[in-house]
């Protein structure tokens, strides 16, 4: 796909554009990791986007110096970096744990629980900010948002690192193996003595934490936060997960595939921009792409059935 674009779209094959694609895919990509893990475990998390927005807004409110920002500062100044990151991850982790608690302990439907979180967490973002925005984060945070390493932005490196780490966890550790098996047959894993409840809660906490990370990066990239920050990213993350080969039935999918899905999405968006098509078409194309991915999946299954 990338090759086709490189060959056909003028000015596509440029290192800055690749860097742009990778950067563009950072936020959706990190969110998609959490979403993918949850879906592989046979569950659903619609709250990732709102959780990211809340983490971004809290980072903005605490550390930005204008708008609703309180401008909390540290000496030495760089301390703001770990402190803000820790707060963002904690916010995400707490909401993830709350979702997980309702799904596992209260036996509530994950779709409904996280749909509710999608709504109330976004509502909280608007409420705590009063609908206004926070601007101007301190220099150490801006540095992360602007600097590049090997032509790729630092935040994109963070996303890549996340993909590498979680790909490893999912394919090489007992935890990842258990998550996959729970998605395949929760009864069998329970009978085999695997602590299904604990692992399910952990997947929700992970999704919350990585969404918090995505929100933190969103805040430092835009040097602040607005009440509608990240709106629509849930659907992009979903598209990426599905295009990346994760089955909504659970138990099937790999994170490298999801990252490929994310990159594909953002290269298509970039290509559309470069070709000068009106941006409105982007959504139409994304939607068709999701359908195409599902169609491919269905084809794959029926071919396999015929061979078997």
């Amino acid at each position: 796909m990338l090759c086709i674009f490189s060959a056909t779209v003028p000015r596509f094959f440029q290192i800055e554009i690749f860097a742009n694609i990778v950067e563009h895919s950072t936020f959706v990509g990190v969110m998609a990791i959490g979403l993918a893990i949850i879906i592989i475990a046979g569950n659903m998390d619609l709250s990732v986007e709102s959780v990211a927005a809340l983490a971004a807004m809290i980072t903005g409110i605490l550390f930005a110096s204008h708008g609703v920002g309180l401008g909390i500062a540290f000496t030495p100044e760089w301390l703001v970096l770990p402190v803000s990151l820790l707060i963002a991850l904690t916010v995400g982790g707490v909401i993830g744990a709350f979702n997980g608690f309702l799904v596992v302990v209260m036996q509530m439907n994950a779709f409904i629980v996280t749909l509710a979180s999608y709504i109330w967490v976004r509502g909280l973002v608007v409420a705590v900010s009063g609908g206004r925005s926070a601007q101007d984060l301190p220099p150490p945070l801006r540095f992360i948002g602007i600097e590049t390493f090997l032509a790729i932005p630092l935040i994109a490196w963070i996303a890549i690192t996340c993909f590498v780490v979680f790909s490893f966890v999912m394919s090489k550790t007992p935890f990842g193996r258990h998550v996959t098996m729970i998605g395949g047959n929760p009864v069998a894993t329970y009978r085999a003595g695997i602590n299904v409840g604990r692992i399910t809660v952990t997947t929700f906490v992970i999704a919350g934490i990585v969404s918090g990370l995505a929100g933190w990066m969103l805040a430092i990239r835009t040097s602040g936060a607005t009440a509608n920050l990240g709106t629509g990213m849930l659907f992009q993350a979903f598209a990426a997960v599905v295009i990346g080969g994760v089955s909504l039935k659970g138990g099937v999918g790999r994170l490298p595939g999801v990252y490929a899905g994310v990159l594909l999405l953002s290269s298509i968006q970039t290509a559309i921009n470069l070709m000068g098509l009106p941006a409105h078409y982007t959504q139409v194309i994304l939607g068709l792409l999701v359908l195409a991915a599902m169609l491919l999946d269905a084809l794959k299954i029926s071919v396999r059935r015929r061979l078997a």
Binding site: T173, P174, R177, N185, T189, Y190, R191, G193, I194, G251
Partner: protein, 249 residues
């Protein structure tokens, strides 16, 4: 521990599903090295009883004693750690992962890399290869997902899994339903071999000849109650059928 005391004792086990009384006052013992066949019509309560012993379901009334101590399993994991292995009627495999992953489900071998547990795939592969080979089960590739295997192959994986892990008591719920003639013969021989190691075995089956071939004792259930307990050597297929159906002759 005295060898003549029962390995497992069920005392007055009852189980209600709402108004349905699936089990009523079921009591019997199983000894080490003994094969007990559990017989009964569909709906007699055999699977329910197995689930209760295996920790997957709580009894409404009654007590379970294992090795003389009263036990109260809250999950299959607890029963398993006590030494009770179970092969369920509806198979317990994850069809979305490969044979090796299923074999080691919940007991994965790991090596520590910088303190992080990492799956030891090579070691697990060779253990499974050996276990299946010695059982005479042919599966083309241990790396294929179980969804691509036949019902017989799946059942073979489950059977070999419990043989490998051992334990003190094994519960088999219709273990041969999907197996061919030769695989069933091997399975029955395997049950005798395991029992000879001093492991207690409960095997549920529909097929009378299998029960006579493999069991020392038969426990017949009818409508949630024990209809009779007989030694295989002291009974005839006709008598057992009468116990199962409840027909007086």
């Amino acid at each position: 521990m005295n060898n003549n005391s029962p390995l497992l004792s069920l005392k007055n086990i009852s189980k209600n599903f709402g108004a349905i009384c699936a089990l009523e006052d079921v009591s019997f013992d199983i000894f080490r090295g003994e094969v007990v066949a559990l017989l009964g019509d569909n709906g007699a309560g055999k699977s329910t009883l197995v689930k209760i012993i295996a920790g997957g379901m709580a009894a409404t009334h009654g007590q379970i004693f294992f090795e003389g101590r009263q036990v109260n399993f809250n999950s299959p994991a607890e029963a398993k750690s006590t030494g009770i292995e179970t092969v369920y009627q509806d198979l317990s495999l994850c069809t979305n992962v490969d044979v090796v992953a299923n074999f080691f489900m919940g007991r994965e071998l790991v090596k520590r890399v910088c303190g992080i547990p990492v799956l030891n795939e090579r070691e697990m592969y060779s253990v499974v290869e050996q276990a299946l080979q010695s059982a005479g089960t042919a599966i083309p590739s241990l790396r294929t997902n179980v969804e691509h295997l036949s019902g017989g192959q799946r059942q073979a994986i489950e059977l070999n899994r419990f043989v490998h892990w051992g334990g003190k008591l094994v519960l088999l719920d219709e273990p041969f339903a999907a197996l061919g003639v030769e695989q069933t013969r091997r399975g029955l021989a395997m049950i005798r071999r395991i029992a000879a190691q001093g492991i207690g075995i409960v095997v549920i089956t529909h097929i009378m000849s299998q029960a006579f071939q493999v069991a020392d004792r038969m426990v017949v259930m009818r409508q949630g109650k024990i209809a009779g307990m007989v030694r295989c050597t002291d009974t005839s297929p006709d008598e057992v059928v009468r116990l199962i159906t409840g027909d007086a002759v």
